[in-house]
Amino acid sequence: MDYAIGVILLLTFFALAWYCIKGFNLMIGFLVITILWTVLPLGGTLFVSQEFLAANPVLLFGEGTGKTLVGILNRIYQSAPEGWGTTLVNVCWGAWFGRVLMDTGIASTLIRKTVELGGDKPAVTISLLNLVTALIFTSMTGAGPVIAIGVIVLPILMSLGVPKAIAMFSFMGAVASGIYLNPVNFAQYRAFFIKPTDMPDFTLGWYAAHWGYAALAIMLIVTTLLALFYLGRSKSHRQWAAQTRTPQASQKDAPIYTLILPVVPVILNIAFNFSVIGGFVIAGFAALFLCGRMSGTFRENCQLVNKLYYEGVVDTAPLVGFLLTLPMFNAVAVYASPYFNVVIGEIMPKSELVVCVVFAALLFMGLFRGPMTLVGCGAATLGVLSNVAKFSVPFLYGVFAIPTITVNIGCCITQSWVAWGLAYTKVESRDFLKLSIPNAYATGILQYAAVYFLLTGLGTAWMVG
């Protein structure tokens, strides 16, 4: 019977993968699968053998076990999403900081000053813009900030004769490379593997020093080199087009000394393990004061801070429902794992080298919210993998961060801001994917090599549970 339930659970996993790839609502998909994965494994305990139950104490509840069914349900549907509240707070403050950088003109000034260094040489300008874009997105995240920077960067690149598909691919790759060091994204993905309070040594600073810098550098360099390669092969264009300028493009320059502020929260966090939110507050208010945005009355200043917070939270709103459903799913995966173990336990990779090779080969499954990306069906794969074999948390983080950030965020048309970019530049999805998929593989393979050399053999102290 345990085998039959395992097969049914596996079928629901594939159904979820299909659902995600079709682009349906992720929050509802994960909520439905959480309910199914609650009913099948817990209800299944009535039919499975006593040996199976004895071998998997996680499934035991009722009299004499010290656990009740209601307690388990509360853990899945109450404690788990509550635990994610801490992550969500980081997301909200990060979104506020992103809005501050846009409102003060710091982000747009950084881009303009970078272009002024490169001039009319597209290769130099692309390289510099990619570097600065990556730095900006170590602290900014969400569709709002990407669009705000995109409406400045993309027309500049196109006006320099860079074909629009190359401009799009290069910009989106640079954004994703910055996200490798983004404290908000780090906190968000970390919560897929462990509770925010668990494993206190697994900080952004530790992660950055052991793998994060390498992951960022690999993606930035490969994206830039590929963009230059594509540019070298394309014919230079000069286009006559007309478009109204966006407010960001005509913003006044921010003072030069404020241009360091976007990376202040990340530096504070990595160097001193200083609180992420503290960093956002310090750098955010410094930006508002130094750029003269707090020169109104007390009431006006309060309204401005509040407005920016509101806009920032709206930027992240589409993600919140999904983020608060995922922890239920992560919690329920523990109860489904014994059944998965029966069916696929033998074939699941248990060596770190094999995991790296298999994941590198299957990188394409990170596209279209497939079974490799954490912001898609990958959460289910993680649930299966981490419960049928023992791997360290940093290793698993690296393994899943690559399809999530490099493939999904940087190269896939289902990412909200990539979809925006396609509509803005009128690049065909096919033309974008022709450029981005080679990047996903070239970058991803090198990053998996880095995972293998930098994050394997960490010892039991870094294992889950």
Binding site: G23, F24, N25, L26, I28, R112, K113, V115, E116, L117, G118, G119, D120, K121, V124, T125, A143, G144, I147, I156, S159, L160, K235, S236, H237, R238, Q239, W240, A241, A242, Q243, T244, R245, T246, P247, S250, D253, P318, T414, S416, W417, A419, W420, A423, Y424, T425, K426
Partner: protein, 255 residues
């Protein structure tokens, strides 16, 4: 209350439960919509030199320039476009853009290339000798020219495709004479560090001169930046009105 109304009201709920992910849409700023003949009439009055703020607002290096530099470059670029137009007319004994393009050995294509509202592409010059004129924009402009009130401003015999082609021919001329033409030889030093330095060309100069070239070749009484509003209008009167507002404001005039 009909079925369509109910469906529309239920759609957000259905989308939330079973629908596609809602992706972030790109929304342009909104502007007051104005009549085309009114806008063209106003824009046609702007002297060529006063278009410099609009022309340089699209220049990536604009932040490096002083007002006097912009003024000087505008004058020289207009002059450059005129001189090369006269040179082409004399050399090829015609002021017809098609004939000049043919004699210069240019390949001119007229694809349809439908574009939507927020970035309307009129034409494309691909080095060294290919020009694409996107007929969707041209056909829409010609449709507007059938209105009497609109026709009187660009001129009775105006052919949008010829103006666009003239502009693109200039970019080919820039390539051909790149070692001597002002729009290519003029450079600005962006930075220097000991013996290292980065001198850059200025994109806007070529655009201004191309407009001046098109004006001279087609004997226009107005500076052809006006075409931006004219060619966009049929796609989006609001976007065209936004461009008009920007052009007028940058020229120091009341929209």
């Amino acid at each position: 209350m009909n079925w369509e109304y109910i469906k529309q009201k239920l759609k957000p709920i259905a989308d939330g439960l079973f629908g596609k992910q809602r992706i972030t849409r790109y929304e342009r700023p909104h502007y007051e919509i104005r009549k085309l003949d009114y806008m063209l009439g106003k824009l046609a009055m702007i002297p060529a030199i006063e278009w410099r703020h609009y022309a340089f607002s699209r220049e990536p290096l604009n932040g490096k320039f002083s007002p006097s530099q912009r003024l000087e470059w505008m004058r020289k670029s207009i002059e450059c476009g005129k001189i090369y137009a006269q040179r082409m007319i004399a050399e090829y004994e015609s002021d017809d853009a098609d004939i000049i393009a043919h004699r210069l050995g240019l390949e001119v294509f007229y694809p349809q290339y439908p574009e939507k509202t927020d970035r309307v592409l009129f034409a494309d010059f691909i080095k060294p000798d290919r020009i694409n004129i996107f007929m969707d924009a041209v056909n829409r402009a010609e449709k507007l020219l059938r209105k009497e009130s609109v026709k009187k401003i660009p001129g009775d015999n105006i052919k949008p495709a010829k103006i666009i082609l003239s502009h693109e021919i200039f970019h080919h001329i820039e390539e051909k004479y790149r070692h001597e033409i002002f729009t290519r030889t003029e450079k600005i030093r962006l930075w220097s560090l000991g013996p290292l330095h980065n001198d850059s060309g200025i994109y806007a100069l070529g655009e201004i001169a191309a407009m001046s070239f098109a004006q001279e070749l087609n004997h226009l009484t107005y500076f052809p930046y006006l075409m931006d509003v004219f060619l966009v209008y049929d796609y989006s009167p609001e976007e065209a009105s936004g461009l008009y507002e920007e052009m007028m404001t940058l020229a120091g005039l009341e929209p």
